[in-house]
């Protein structure tokens, strides 16, 4: 069903015509070439590096005034440590101490629009922009001083924000900026530096945010307290598209502390003076509302078969080379994944304040500008009267409830002018209403030639969207529930080479021919959107399983087989490093023990990661214990070695949790994963016993991004170790909840 080919979009982008076509498109954005610029970013200077492409003016990044040095980024701290890393880059290139910089992250009134903080793009985009802009600003300041003093700029030095001449003249950056206009385009040519001279880049600075987080400081949007702030709770329908039949607003209004009950179509919310009063009012609201109808929820057992029957657009992903008649052994398999949750530890929260005609929203959204567009449309204000300011929340790992909670706060605040409104979602609201990571089905069929080399690679996948970001009001839950609802914009996948459900669907291994297609299912049984690595998790899991199976058929060691099919020396380097550090090949004689290896280059254009895993599958219970994980990564020039290590360790653990344990539990009666008992994730006793991270630095090379490189390779390595341990190739994720119990 719905198998029309859509070649145009991909061919379009391959031609690099993004800028030209953008202005011709009817709505905000129909094309997204990366996960970050779903809306609102326009390429103004295609030749500039990083986010200078979309924000080419130097003073968008650095402003110097009597208050000191102000540096701006449109990216946000999601808990990955990027705020500190970006500051390191800016301080390095301005040649000042990090503490001398007043560093501001995403705020629609102050910072550049860098779209979303997503897709391992932060250091790649914003880090690259700051790396270049900060150095160029320093150069301009030195030229200004040189002009003033009538000397050659090359004769000057800077020392902690002060320019010094050979004859001992001194001028601060703030003085030097008087003679230069920073409102100018950045230069395309980078200002070179010797990486060995770096004092901040490549060094592990302690993160700025941790002291407050270990001591009860105000660190999160949840911790904001504005004067006369009121507490709101939403009351959601039992399922999407249910209709409100009756609601006893009067009874709730009479409860202690309740100051407002909002009813607008199917949208319900309560506002109270005290948070506990709001919670009690909400609970009463759930009891006193009657609903009918709503979306039909499918059965988890049949979801993958259902995906193949729903309306879909078929996208060709890679059709290279000429398929031949198979001459060697082949491997064919179906691989599946269930819906996953972001599962933030803190449910979404936002504070909004409509005051003096301006609606200000504090939000842990990944994209304040796109959110502003959606909220402005929803509440009927021009975008310039809506200000979205990022405030940290609990880690999100993608598009969770953050934007929707912000929309709730905005909607309620507009009805209560002058009062700051704090909306905190409850655990069950987060679990039932956050966009999930799509259930997926992939089919792989690949074969070897007569010499044991990879020959034809056939791969097809079925997925719902991974990028339902806020391109219009209709992408926000609140806007869909109100009496005059907004409709969500059509779903569009992120194009290759970044990819959507098809992220990393193309193996980096050398193959004679590819035949790879994506069926992009546009009717969503559950609303789905971006979660750390998108389709790469299952695609790499599937590819790496297939590679191991074919290596076995070729009679090759799986690591050597991988090396023999890779041309990129950096790919080979991480594999060799992980292999050697692990002591591959190794085999223990413990019953149920196994080892597995996997590799991927994220999106085939970003960071490299190779992982070896040793685990035990307990023959009686099927429980998996991970003994040892050894990984080697290459993300280009490393900004913060410890920050990188932290991300990689976290990725290993989170991916282990997804791969072994996680699945949204549902049937026709509804979603049962409304709390942690219904959606178990990895806990301390299930941790790998030992994790070893090896970093391969590439001084002077571009930043490639780190946060998502591990998710796929870790899944692949666990899957391969599981097969090695049990002799059974298990391809239904999560591995420990498959219906067939493993026997060693």
């Amino acid at each position: 069903m719905g198998n029309e080919f859509d070649v145009s979009r991909r061919a379009f982008l391959r031609g690099g015509a993004l800028v030209v076509t953008f202005s011709l498109l009817p709505i905000g954005r129909v094309l997204a070439d990366t996960e970050v610029d779903t809306l609102g970013t326009v390429v103004l200077a295609p030749d500039l590096p990083g986010s200078l492409r979309t924000n080419p003016f130097l003073d968008a990044w650095v402003k110097i005034d009597s208050n000191g040095i102000n540096v701006y980024t449109g990216k946000v701290e999601l808990g990955t440590g990027v705020k500190t890393a970006l500051l390191q880059i800016a301080a390095e290139r301005l040649q000042v101490a990090p503490a001398a910089i007043n560093f501001l992250t995403a705020d629609t009134a102050l910072t550049p629009n860098e779209g979303y903080t997503a897709g391992s793009h932060t250091i790649f985009d914003s880090g690259t922009a700051l790396f270049n802009a900060a150095a160029q600003v320093r150069k301009l300041l030195m030229e200004s001083a040189a002009h003033e003093w009538g000397v050659e700029p090359s004769s000057l030095k800077t020392n902690d924000g002060v320019i010094e001449s050979a004859s001992g003249q001194r001028m601060t950056y703030a003085q030097a900026v008087q003679g230069v206009d920073l409102h100018r385009y950045a230069e395309a040519e980078p200002i070179q530096a010797r990486p060995s001279d770096y004092k901040l880049i490549g060094h592990s600075l302690q993160r700025l945010d941790i002291p407050a987080k270990v001591s009860g400081g105000a660190a999160f949007v949840q911790d904001m307290r504005l004067p006369e702030m009121l507490h709101a709770r939403v009351i959601r329908p039992p399922r999407p598209n249910s209709t409100l039949e009756s609601f006893d607003a009067q009874s709730i209004k009479s409860l202690p502390g309740v100051v407002q009950v909002i009813q607008d179509g199917n949208y319900l919310a309560v506002v109270a003076r005290d948070e506990w009063q709001a919670i009690k009012a909400m609970r009463n609201g759930y009891a006193l509302s009657r609903w009918s109808g709503g979306d039909v929820i499918p059965d988890a057992q049949h979801i993958h078969e259902l995906l193949t029957r729903l309306p879909a657009t078929r996208f060709p992903i890679s059709h290279e080379g000429k398929p031949t008649l198979p001459s060697g052994p082949s491997f064919k398999a179906k691989v599946t994944k269930q819906y996953l949750m972001h599962g933030s530890i803190g449910p979404s929260c936002a504070v909004a304040w409509f005051k003096d005609g301006i609606l200000t929203v504090w939000t842990h959204s990944q994209g304040v500008y796109p959110l502003r567009t959606g909220i402005a449309q929803m509440v009927g204000l021009p975008p310039e009267r809506v200000r979205c300011i990022h405030a940290e929340g609990s880690g999100c790992y993608g598009h969770n409830g953050a934007d929707d909670a912000a929309a709730d706060a905005a909607l309620i605040a507009m009805r209560m002018p002058g009062k700051p409104i704090r909306v905190q979602w409850m655990r069950e609201q987060e679990n039932l209403w956050e966009p999930y990571s799509s259930a997926m089905l992939t089919e792989v069929q690949a074969n070897l030639d007569a010499k044991g080399k990879l020959q034809d690679w056939n791969y097809e996948l079925w997925t719902t969207p991974h990028n339902e970001r806020i391109v219009n009001a209709g992408r926000l839950i609140a806007a869909r529930l109100i009496a005059r609802p907004f409709k969500s914009a059509p779903s569009i996948p992120i194009a290759q080479p970044e990819g959507d459900g098809d992220r990393n669907a193309v193996p980096l291994y050398t193959v004679a021919s590819t035949n790879i297609d994506m069926n992009f299912v546009t009717v969503m049984p559950f609303r789905t959107s971006a979660m750390r690595s998108l389709g790469a998790h299952i695609n790499i899991f599937a590819i790496e399983a297939c590679i191991d199976e074919l290596a076995a058929k070729a009679g090759s060691d799986p690591v050597e087989f991988r090396l023999a099919h890779l041309a990129d020396p950096r790919a080979k380097a991480v594999i060799k490093q992980a292999r050697d550090a692990f002591g591959w090949p190794t085999k223990t004689n413990r019953p149920g023990a196994g080892v597995g290896f996997a590799f991927a280059r994220y999106k085939n254009i970003m960071g490299y990661c190779a992982i070896a895993v040793e685990l035990t599958v307990h023959p009686q219970t099927g429980e998996v214990e991970i003994e040892r994980v050894v990984t080697a990564v290459d993300v280009g020039q490393i900004v913060s070695p410890d920050g990188l290590r932290n991300q990689v360790q976290g990725g290993i653990i989170q991916s282990a949790s997804w791969t072994l344990y996680e699945a949204v539990d549902y049937d026709a009666n509804g979603v049962r994963s409304y709390d942690w008992s219904g959606y178990p994730i990895l806990r301390f006793p299930q941790l790998p016993s030992k994790v070893e991270v090896h970093l391969i630095d590439q001084p002077g090379q571009p930043f490639l991004g780190a946060a998502e490189i591990v998710q796929g390779p870790m899944a692949g390595a666990i899957g391969n170790a599981f097969a090695n341990a049990t002799g059974q190739r298990r391809l239904k994720l999560p591995l420990t909840r498959s219906s067939n119990v493993a026997h060693g």
């Binding site: 440590g81 945010d209 987080k213 270990v214 009860g216 105000a218 530890i345 940290e392 655990r427 976290g650």
Partner: protein, 156 residues
Amino acid sequence: MTSTTLNVNGSLHELELDPDMPLLYALRNHLNLNGAKYGCGLGQCGACTVLIDNKPVFSCLTPCSGLESKTIRTVESLGTADRPGKLQQAFIDKQAAQCGYCIAGMLVRAQSLLERDPHPDETTIREYMATNLCRCGTHLRIIEAIKHVAGASHGQ
């Protein structure tokens, strides 16, 4: 509303509270303490952990009524950002946080372990910390930080 006296971090506070209000909300909204976090409201994640009479308790589930004679301690009692306590310093040294939302709860739970067993081994730490969830995967560093304090008191 009932007048309730709570002994929090060594000070007595007389508050007008709904008797069924969970302690979490009294701490956050009536005493402006940010440390205890709302995570699930169900005692499943540990983000709200505080010490009551030296035992770790889920403050999201514990009503304020009945706490009058008890001693309540939150992460704020361990030190400040400028003058962190020993365990807090270990978390900073090991950079044992990613988003950090779970971290205050982790610290309080770990503190309760170290108070009753100053030198726990790694298996004990893993078992004891099992009540607390972290989604970022910071577990290994949290264990390192706890072990650092456990080992340091040996004089190692």
